[in-house]
């Protein structure tokens, strides 16, 4: 719409946008300032806490705590694993569904797609039981009795969701839009399957891969319900559940709790996903535009 805009119009547009953004951003501002304030400043809050002395040392203390450090390492490992799996699987399976032609291909794809209709919370209970009664694991016999199976093991954190259907779907869409000439050229050159996928298609699908990296990282970093039910020991805890329980524990100390440290804990969990998003957001929006609206 090419349209000359009056001053009042611009003023209204930016007015609403800026006020809305302030409302959206306010909780973050509150949280960061609260995390740097003292308990007294925190309770003196009018709009946001104003730290009289900046308690940056609180962040240092948190990072020196071995349990927080452990949470970070565990969650980063888990994110790295799922990012690798998601990119690898979606490239390979996307290639098969998009570029190879054989009997039954579309039926298999349809089975994959149909599974997206089943929301995760419906299979929460059977999946838990599947892990808990996994034969020959965690003290279980061949009938899956007697032990705790894969529950509270690293397997519980790393074995689920290894066939990322939605990512495969996105990648197939992307590859469908690439001309078949690349495939022909690869075959004429005698390139093997692996070389075709990782040498030819990987560089061309980088925007989608970047979007998958963001989505996977944020999804796994913030994953809460599954670790909550599957992991009980502290040394295997991940960040969403671990920080959440550390925050709850801070409130239950006998003496007056250090409230700002709750906000400091919250802040450090929020930084990595925001950084990853800011780093890759260009591709994220691009991927949205390329594949149309998700779903």
């Amino acid at each position: 719409m090419v349209h000359k805009r009056s001053f009042i119009e611009s003023f209204l547009i930016y007015g609403v946008l800026v006020i809305g953004s302030i409302v959206m951003f306010y909780p973050f501002l509150f949280q960061v300032l609260a995390s740097l304030a003292s308990n007294r400043d925190y309770y003196a809050t009018l709009i946001v806490p104003i730290p009289t002395k900046w308690h940056v040392d609180r962040y240092v203390d948190i990072f020196l705590k071995p349990e927080v450090y452990r949470l970070y390492v565990n969650t980063f490992l888990r994110c790295a694993w799922y990012i690798f799996i998601t990119c690898f699987m979606s490239l390979v399976a996307g290639y098969v569904f998009s570029k190879l032609r054989f009997k039954g291909r579309d039926s298999v794809f349809l089975i994959f797609l149909a599974s997206m209709m089943i929301p995760g919370q419906v299979t929460l209970v059977p999946t838990y039981l599947l892990y808990a009664r996994w034969p020959f694991a965690g003290g279980n016999d061949w009938l899956g009795q007697g032990g705790h199976g894969l529950i509270d093991s690293w397997a519980a954190l790393l074995v689920g969701g290894l066939v990322p259907v939605y990512s495969i779907f996105l990648m197939k869409q992307m590859m469908d839009s690439l001309p078949f000439d690349y495939e022909e050229a690869a075959r004429v050159d005698g390139a093997g399957v692996a070389r075709t996928i990782f040498g030819i298609y990987l560089p061309m699908t980088k925007p989608i891969l970047a979007a998958l990296v963001i989505m996977t990282f944020i999804g796994i970093w913030n994953d809460y319900l599954w670790p909550l039910i599957a992991i009980s020991s502290t040394e295997k805890q991940v960040i969403a559940t671990g920080i959440s329980s550390l925050m709850a524990a801070t409130k239950q100390v006998g003496k007056v709790p250090d409230y700002p440290s709750i906000f400091a804990l919250a802040t450090i969990t929020m930084i990595p996903p925001i950084v990853v998003y800011l780093w890759l957001q260009k591709y994220f929006v691009q991927a949205f535009a390329m594949t149309g609206v998700k779903g």
Partner: protein
């Protein structure tokens, strides 16, 4: 097609080696299928164990009673489903999830559309504003919920202190289902509305500009254009957001578990928290499975509805 045949007979693995025996010929002809299935079969096996089996297992479990710890599930027929529809607060938690979902949707769709429209008009700073709106989507809901719990604490929460400072009688939010629902809805809208903005923005940028030009030629003013071009063009997206939003409302968990605990008196309890309580606090896996199956049926109906609607042509 012809070209492809030539390409695949001349190419790849056996290039230069003339297929001598029948076997080699067969392998050669079915090369794509062999490659395809050798990649897909391990995925299918995994899929059968981790996706198809749980979906069938939950249906079986819903007809049984099982603590999940020892022994095997005991068949009880329709007992769990009868309990779902006649006892306790199961139906209420399901309906409540849907009602919360609709209220949350109402606000996120209106706010999301408004912000997307304005962002689409903005000439500078739209990237930064979009990022600010998207920030809450990126952060952990559990951590947000813990902070809210801290602030709303009836004993020493900051909200209470501030109400006292402003000379108000401090409200104990935890005693009122209305207040708890209010906080739950506000936080969930804040957390999710950025996604709606991004999706609407993508939709707005995808609208064919020739439609606007045609409307202009017909002498439409800007309000007309908005009403007769923009809104109808966004209808498929709105339908999509509506259905996925209602389905998504059965997945609300963290704010209920960490802020309201389903209280007061279970008046803010919703279905996923109910399933969680049944399964992992009462170890009544049969009942939890029955609730899951009901959610599955409702979800499938909504998905079919969405499919039917999305197939309909935009007028």
């Amino acid at each position: 097609m012809k070209n492809r045949e030539i390409a695949s007979t001349g190419g790849a693995v056996s290039a230069g080696i003339p297929p001598s025996s029948r076997m080699q010929k067969w392998i050669h002809r079915h090369r794509e299928g062999i490659v395809g299935y050798s990649i897909l079969s391990p995925m299918l096996l995994y899929f059968a164990i981790f996706a198809i089996f749980p979906a069938l297992f939950v249906i079986y479990l819903s007809f049984t009673e099982w603590t999940g710890i020892n022994g095997l599930p005991a068949w009880v027929g329709l007992k769990n489903f009868r309990a779902f529809f006649t006892q306790g607060d199961y139906v209420e938690t399901l309906v409540r999830a849907g009602v919360y979902g609709i209220i949350i949707l109402f606000f996120s769709l209106i706010i999301g559309l408004l912000i997307a429209l304005l962002l689409n008009q903005a000439r500078f700073g739209s990237g930064a504003i979009r990022t600010i709106w998207y920030l809450p989507v990126l952060v952990s809901f559990a951590v947000v919920a813990q902070m809210v719990t801290t602030l709303l604490n009836p004993v020493d929460g900051l909200a209470k202190q501030m109400m006292i400072r402003f000379g108000m009688e401090p409200i104990v939010f935890q005693e009122s289902a209305l207040w708890m629902s209010f906080w739950l809805i506000v936080i969930t809208v804040w957390k999710g509305v950025g996604g709606t903005v991004i999706i609407y923005l993508a939709g707005l940028q995808g609208i064919d500009t020739t439609l606007y030009e045609a409307a202009k030629v017909d002498g439409a003013n800007r309000l007309n254009m908005f009403w007769h071009v923009t809104i109808p063009s966004l209808r498929p997206i709105t339908m999509f957001l509506l259905i996925t939003g209602i389905i998504g409302s059965f997945q609300i968990f963290e704010p209920v578990q960490l802020i309201t605990y389903g209280g007061p008196h279970g008046e803010t309890n919703i279905i996923l928290f109910r399933i969680y309580q049944d399964a992992f606090q009462s170890f009544n896996f049969g009942m939890a499975s029955a609730s899951s199956v009901v959610v599955l049926v409702v979800t499938l109906i909504l998905s079919v509805a969405q499919y039917r609607v999305s197939q309909r042509k935009v007028t």
